[in-house]
């Protein structure tokens, strides 16, 4: 079965690896600036899908299906992001007679809507954050809810978003004024005065449970991941298992996740995201009907290959393991390496990678998407690669990650590697004592400016630059202000 990978970067490379292990030929797709990207080099064949903007290339269903048909690909893996959770795409594949490596379109529809997924989960007995499912018209309804659920609560505008039209209420005496303010903001910002309320989980942790199901009704869970460390609502460090989940709680979480997946007849890999309070009460947040970015931590600890499993499931095969075959082994941590400059408020840092040295050695896995000489384009997500460390214990995994981060060198662009070194050395992180606000607090109190060069380093750099300038002047008589050898060569060529 030939497989087309409708994605780019490290995840496309990851899927190509799984295909190779199963003996499937692969087809990469690329937008114009991606023609020399690593996923294109890695695949057996590569086809263009359009210009740089995603909506004209990687997000165009017709432009993805066309090369699939031209190359005779029998299946499409969507990776994550782009078209991975687009039910229309899953349907279009089915209509074109191409196997979509994921779930059937139906659960995607059902889980795409927050209110619909919440309703289905409640019906299946899955705990959801206590809240009003319908907008309220009167203050009395909010008050009754607050009395029942207990403070703190959040009052939110139904049509709200972007942090507007919501209030955090801790005390009963503040409830009325908060309700009135949110109602009036909702009216003026969104022309819709409807509001609803939800229990606020204090110091929450973000825990997610991996599930895998086949098309024969078998669903198992593959443990949980700790995804509490987030920046701009984007996960940056993930762990498996969660340091706060013991075997008993893992069983409860797993059973809940399997129930949730069964409620929508789910197959392929999926993730049930939950919030967990300090009291270890957990609440369903949402279900992701795709392969997650952070799947490698689960793979290392549970000894499964989730991508190969997806490929088999899509062809109608049964799961290759049963629940009782699975047991966690040790601990894994993942750092998402971004082309961002921590010293400049994590501003994007695209550009030419002049040098890259990926860490290796015991317990280290790189899901990498770049190479030396590659130019990181400005058009896409800044994630370059994922660094994953596995050890017998959380402490060993952290020590390996710390060691790997010192080996990791990327020159030419700035990356978030120094930021991860900081996290791995943080006492609170090492003690697993954190919540979703951890990163914001850490970033606020840290100066990421690179250490200034010492006098000897400056001298060495000046000497090297002067020697190079000297050699240059001896070799070729370049114009003094030449900006690149290429351009110089091109000019010379043009004058011939």
């Amino acid at each position: 079965m030939k497989v087309l990978i409708a994605n780019r970067g490290e995840i496309a490379v990851r899927v190509i690896r799984a295909c190779r292990e199963l003996g499937y030929p692969t087809v990469a797709v690329y937008s114009e600036p991606d023609r020399s990207a690593l996923h294109v080099i890695s695949a057996d064949e590569a086809m263009p899908v359009g210009p740089a903007p995603s909506r004209e290339s990687y997000l165009r269903i017709d432009r993805i299906l066309d090369p699939a048909q031209k190359t005779g690909a029998g299946a499409i893996h969507p990776g994550y992001g782009f078209l991975a959770e687009n039910a229309e795409f899953a349907r279009a594949c089915r209509d074109a007679g191409i196997v979509f490596i994921g779930h059937s379109p139906e659960p995607i529809d059902a889980m795409g809507s927050k209110t619909e997924s919440r309703r289905r989960m409640q019906a299946a007995g899955v705990p959801v954050v206590p809240g009003l499912t319908e907008a309220v018209k009167s203050f009395d309804e909010i008050e009754a809810f607050a009395r029942e659920a207990g403070f703190p609560i959040m009052i939110k505008a139904s049509a709200g978003g972007g942090g507007k039209g919501l209030r955090f209420v801790e005390r009963a005496e503040d409830l009325r004024s908060a309700f009135e303010r949110v109602s009036s903001e909702a009216e003026s910002f969104f022309s819709d005065g409807a509001v609803y309320a939800e229990k606020f989980i204090t110091r929450p942790r973000h825990i997610e449970v991996q599930v895998v199901g086949d098309q024969h009704g078998n669903i198992v869970h593959v443990g949980e991941r700790e995804c509490t460390l987030q920046r701009r609502h984007q996960k940056v460090v993930e762990e498996c298992p969660s340091p706060v989940v013991d075997a008993q709680l893992r069983e409860q979480l797993g059973a809940m996740a399997v129930r949730a997946a069964a409620a929508v007849n789910y197959y392929s890999t999926g993730t049930i995201e939950c919030l967990m309070g300090p009291d270890r009460q957990f609440y369903f947040l949402e279900m992701n009907t795709r392969l997650q970015v952070e799947h490698p931590v689960t793979e290392l600890v549970w000894g499964v290959d989730l991508v190969k499993e997806q490929l088999r499931i899509a062809q109608g095969e049964k799961l290759s393991f049963r629940q009782e075959d699975l047991a966690p082994n040790g601990h894994a941590i993942e750092c998402r390496v971004y082309a961002e400059d921590p010293a400049r408020k994590f501003a994007p840092s695209p550009g030419l990678i002049r040098y890259i040295e990926l860490p290796q050695g015991p317990g280290i896995r790189n899901d990498n998407g770049v190479y030396a000489g590659y130019t990181v384009p400005v058009f896409y997500d800044p994630m370059l690669s994922k660094l994953i460390a596995h050890g017998n214990s959380r402490d060993e995994a952290i020590a390996r990650m710390r060691r790997a981060l010192t080996e990791y060198r990327v020159e030419g662009i700035m990356t978030t590697i120094p930021f991860f070194t900081l996290i791995m050395n943080d006492p609170e992180f090492c003690a697993a004592d954190f919540d979703t606000g951890f990163i914001d607090r850490l970033v606020a109190e840290t100066d990421f400016t690179r250490a200034a060069a010492g006098e000897e380093q400056v001298d060495a750099a000046i000497a090297a630059a002067a020697i190079l300038a000297f050699e240059e002047s001896q070799n070729v008589q370049l114009p003094v202000d030449a900006d690149s050898r290429w351009r110089t060569a091109a000019r010379a060529e043009a004058l011939r």
Partner: protein, 165 residues
Amino acid sequence: MKFIAREGGRELPVEVLRHGSGYRVRIGDRWMEADLVRAGAFVRSLRLEDGTQLSLIHHTSGNAHEITLGGTTVHVEIVDPLAARRRRREDEMSSGGAVNAPMPGRVVRVLVAQGETVRKGAGLLILEAMKMENEIQAPTDGVVEELFVAPGQTVEAGAELVRIA
């Protein structure tokens, strides 16, 4: 051969002479012996006379050298003495206050108008890169003398966006 090295706001006379298979280099009034070999596409190995070996990641754009060693980056410009004099004059004449694009991207919004007075740190425009919007801020107090970009425009890293006088 004599050069001027411009580094960290200062100018140093530099001289390079062949010496055996390596070089003698004068920086200011200090002489050192060193050799330099290519170790990879952007990698150079510098060996000093006492045997100290330093791995450098080197990139050059015209006369501007960017050299990373031991976790820090040094920016050095190596120019011939005549060019250095010309550059000094140019520096004195320019009013400064140029705000350049820190990264390639697309201008989403321009937040100021020509002639507007801005405070240091005020948002000048929004530059979108890698699916993120980045606010470009005024480096100093001043008046927006000139705007070089408009919404929708794509710019390269280093492109002049705004001049503040």
